[in-house]
């Protein structure tokens, strides 16, 4: 250890800790951080704001438009307001974080009124505020522009109590339309003088990378370079805070976290920036026995001495494993990420390496590469001892501690198995969604690049679809089989054949993967003709469901919701088929004959190739 180094207490680490899941981190987050900044002599975390420049430019222009910022709690609405204010401030008044509304004279002579939280205004004042908003947006008041922040749920509240003039009503409807329609974050009103930014429509994985960069590149880390614990020695492991920071800076780990966040968005779970900051802070600072379960600099020597460094594993912290279960469940980001089941899900191969790898010569190379190579969080002595006790112990040995460590190891492997080994190691079997990787890289990202998805992938989805549509273990994958049960709609097996729809383009028929029109996610669109089609948006859950069915799983091993979603799609296709038939007048004109097509069995290749057509003469 170089002699001139000593133990440093970094104010930056204490500051970062405030962003983590500590009990005080509840309300008025931005306000509290601001006051802590004043005291702490720490440079703030500067996450690059996607829309800041264009918003500031708007208010500096000769004809600025009013702006509504909306989004869920923690999306950074107040932060935006403050940043915009500070850029426009000039000689004007300073930002007052206490005031609900405040005004600033713009260079062009107009007055900018910032309403930091519309939902905090109540009663008569609320009515006046809403009327003022309507006046400004409808251009009845010309010397004023507005910057309004409001949670998306609360933006529409209070308007119904206004019995104002016609323009109040049209402004309200305009805001509502912009709020509910479309998935783009920035939407411009055509009728009135305002734009709406829905910050919940910015995807978490992009915000995450920005937040991560802001934290990892923060100048506050410089202090650590003169800390005696930063680098380890032969006798002593390095500081876990620094170690975690270094690991989080690795491209592979960033990619895997970012993939999980993107998949969560595609599953319909949006994570605002505040949650992402909690995630980063907890990943770096989490430790199960530290105070509030987040490490401070002054605790580090003791933790090192106790040899409990493995409990600071960033791979566990990502999922909030350092927290109590109760605490963890209250924090959205951990609830969302834990849906992937990383740590609980596993494959025999991975578990064999983790448990038998030390002794089995066939597995030992993997063991060396995956466990022994990481003395910090992999081949930690507690794990090695637990493993030995597990293998050698009798029935009375308490295994719960080792099983928890095993889960931690699986979580570590999820973030450390390199891409090149992912297929061989069946990396995604460590999650609930075995086909998440394919969904993300071979479907979603391919579609975003405006390329075509591989035919085999479509074929497999079609096979899954056919199995659910017919209730039979069919192998058909070059056409979609439309069939009905002939009785009640909940019947599992559908024997009455209606139509084949070709997957390859044929007479206007086709089935293909494309981006869903109203959401940025893949969808399977099925065309019965040029005019008749239906689209099934595929979130990750539905995709996994279809593929697993295609691979031989049974439908009722999944949630009923997935099944109902697919059946709703079938109903829509049948409706489209009926419409097409009406237009083609394909119904038989002869009334004395009735033809019924039944799928009585699969052929020897497992195909529904040839339904039996039964003709019944009615007289």
């Amino acid at each position: 250890m170089p002699e001139n180094l000593s133990h440093q207490i970094s104010p930056w680490v204490s500051f970062l800790r405030q962003y983590g899941p500590i009990p005080q981190n509840e309300n008025s987050f931005d306000e509290r951080i601001a006051s802590s900044l004043k005291r702490g002599r720490v440079a703030p975390i500067r996450v690059e704001l996607q829309y800041l420049d264009e918003l500031v430019a708007n208010f500096r222009s000769a004809t600025p438009r009013s702006i509504i910022l909306t989004g869920t709690a923690g999306d950074g609405k107040t932060f935006y307001c403050r940043e915009i204010w500070q850029q426009l401030q000039g000689d004007g008044p300073r930002w007052n974080s206490e005031a609900e509304t405040q005004e600033l004279r713009l260079d062009g002579g107009l007055t900018l009124e910032v309403i930091k939280d519309l939902s905090a205004i109540v009663g008569e004042e609320k009515k006046e505020t809403l009327l003022r908003i309507a006046d400004v947006m409808a251009d009845k008041v010309k010397d004023r522009v507005l910057l309004i922040a409001a949670n998306d749920g609360q933006l529409m509240e209070g308007w119904s109590q206004l019995n104002g003039n016609g323009h109040v009503h049209t402004v309200r409807n305009d805001i509502e339309n912009l709020l509910v329609g479309g998935w783009r974050a920035h939407r411009r009103s055509q009728e009135h003088n305002f734009d709406l930014y829905n910050l919940s429509r910015t995807s978490a994985e992009k915000t995450f990378m920005k937040a991560l960069k802001a934290i990892l590149d923060h100048p506050g880390w410089a202090r650590c370079d003169s800390c005696q614990f930063q680098q380890g020695t032969e006798q002593q492991k390095p500081c876990p805070i620094w170690e975690n920071k270094t690991r989080l800076a690795g491209a592979l780990m960033q990619q895997r976290v970012s993939d999980l966040l993107e998949l969560s968005e595609l599953n319909g779970f949006h994570l605002p920036i505040r949650q992402l900051l909690i995630l980063v802070a907890n990943t770096i600072l989490g430790h199960s026995t530290a105070k509030d379960r987040l490490m401070m600099c002054k605790e580090v020597p003791q933790l090192l001495a106790e040899g409990t460094i493995a409990q600071a594993s960033p791979y566990r912290n990502v999922f909030g494993e350092n927290l109590t279960e109760r605490r963890r469940e209250t924090i959205e980001v951990f609830r969302v990420l834990r849906r992937f089941g990383v740590g609980i899900e596993t494959s025999n191969f991975i578990d064999s390496i983790l448990i038998f790898g030390a002794d089995d010569p066939a597995l030992h190379p993997h063991y060396q590469e995956l466990i022994l190579s990481d003395p910090h969080y992999g081949s930690d002595s507690t794990y090695l001892n637990g493993q030995r006790a597990y293998l050698e112990g009798g029935e009375e040995t308490d295994l719960s501690a080792f099983l928890a460590q095993l889960a931690g190891q699986r979580q570590r492997l999820f973030f450390t198995i390199p891409d090149a080994r992912a297929v061989e190691m069946r990396l995604w079997q460590l999650t609930t969604f075995h086909f998440a990787d394919e969904y993300l890289n071979e479907v979603h990202r391919v579609l975003l690049r405006k390329e075509r998805v591989r035919g085999e992938i479509v074929a497999r989805l079609v096979r899954g679809l056919n199995r659910i549509f017919t209730g039979m273990l069919a192998r058909d994958d070059n056409h979609i089989v439309l069939a009905t049960s002939g009785s009640l709609s909940q019947a599992r097996v559908s024997q009455v054949f209606e139509e084949f729809i070709s997957v390859r383009r044929n007479l206007g028929q086709r089935a293909q993967l494309e981006l869903a029109p109203e959401a940025e996610m893949p969808a399977l669109s099925v065309h019965l003709s040029d005019k008749h089609w239906a689209s099934l948006p595929l979130n990750l859950r539905r995709y996994e469901y279809l593929v697993r069915i295609a691979e031989g799983a049974l439908p009722n091993s999944f949630s009923r919701e997935c099944y109902e979603d697919i059946m709703a799609c079938k109903t829509e296709l049948l409706r489209q088929l009926a419409a097409r038939r009406r237009e083609e007048q394909a119904e038989d004109d002869e009334t004395d004959r009735l033809t019924l097509s039944l799928i009585t069995r699969l052929n020897s290749d497992g195909l529904i190739s040839n339904p039996d057509h039964i003709e019944i003469r009615m007289r």
Binding site: L488, A491, Q495, V496, T600, D612, I614, I616, R617, M618
Partner: protein, 211 residues
């Protein structure tokens, strides 16, 4: 309103039940059986031109269909598969054997001639496939009830008939325990509230859920 006399013979809680519901609410009748019984009554009354109309109280009199030919073909017909296996690819022999066996089977109509079916189907195989399909989609089709208590899915009026005893002679009220009749009467009593053009379906659904 008339009050029922206080019970002297039966237990009081049964008496309360009966005072409220009459003696016709049979609590073990499944929703499907209730609906089918109800539809049968509705069909019968419709044919007589008085659906859901009861001019004077307690005069409901109906005669649901029995449809014994249909029921024999669908549910009293254990011969189909054997015949198909015995004479593969011989349509003539299949028809002959089956018709003969049906003639010998007991139960249902006196006249056991099913030969009219031959004119309706181009092959015995197709006929058999249709019968098997209707069997598979029958109401509570996997139960092992007697054949006279099995019901085809109510595709239309020709699919409605009443529950009968094992000989196909009389309604012994084993599965049609009059709960469907009660449903019919509740609806008939409320018919003016709904207006003449009834939207029966949703009301019926809630009724059957309660039952």
């Amino acid at each position: 309103m008339n009050r029922l006399p206080f019970p002297t013979v039966i237990e009081p809680d049964i008496w309360v039940d009966e005072a409220i519901w009459g003696h016709r609410l049979y609590d073990e009748q499944t929703p499907w059986m209730t609906v089918l019984e109800f539809l049968g009554i509705l069909q019968s009354e419709m044919e007589d031109g008085r659906a859901l109309r009861e001019e004077t109280l307690n005069t409901l009199k109906y005669r649901p269909n029995r449809r014994l030919h249909l029921r024999n073909i669908l549910f009293n017909n254990p011969h189909l598969e054997a015949v198909l296996e015995q004479f593969p690819n011989d349509d003539e022999a299949q028809w002959q054997t089956w018709l003969q066996q049906m003639r010998a089977t007991k139960g249902g109509p006196e006249e056991r001639d099913f030969s009219y079916l031959r004119q309706r189907f181009s092959s015995f195989k197709g006929f058999a496939a249709l019968v098997q399909f209707l069997q598979a989609s029958a109401i509570e089709g996997d139960s092992n009830k007697r054949w006279t208590s099995k019901f085809v899915f109510p595709y239309g009026p020709h699919c409605l008939y009443e529950d009968l005893d094992a000989n196909g002679k009389t309604n012994d009220r084993r599965f049609f325990g009059r709960t469907g009749e009660l449903l019919y009467r509740v609806l008939a009593a409320n018919v003016h509230d709904f207006g003449a053009e009834l939207c029966i379906a949703p009301k019926m659904m809630t009724m059957t859920e309660r039952i």
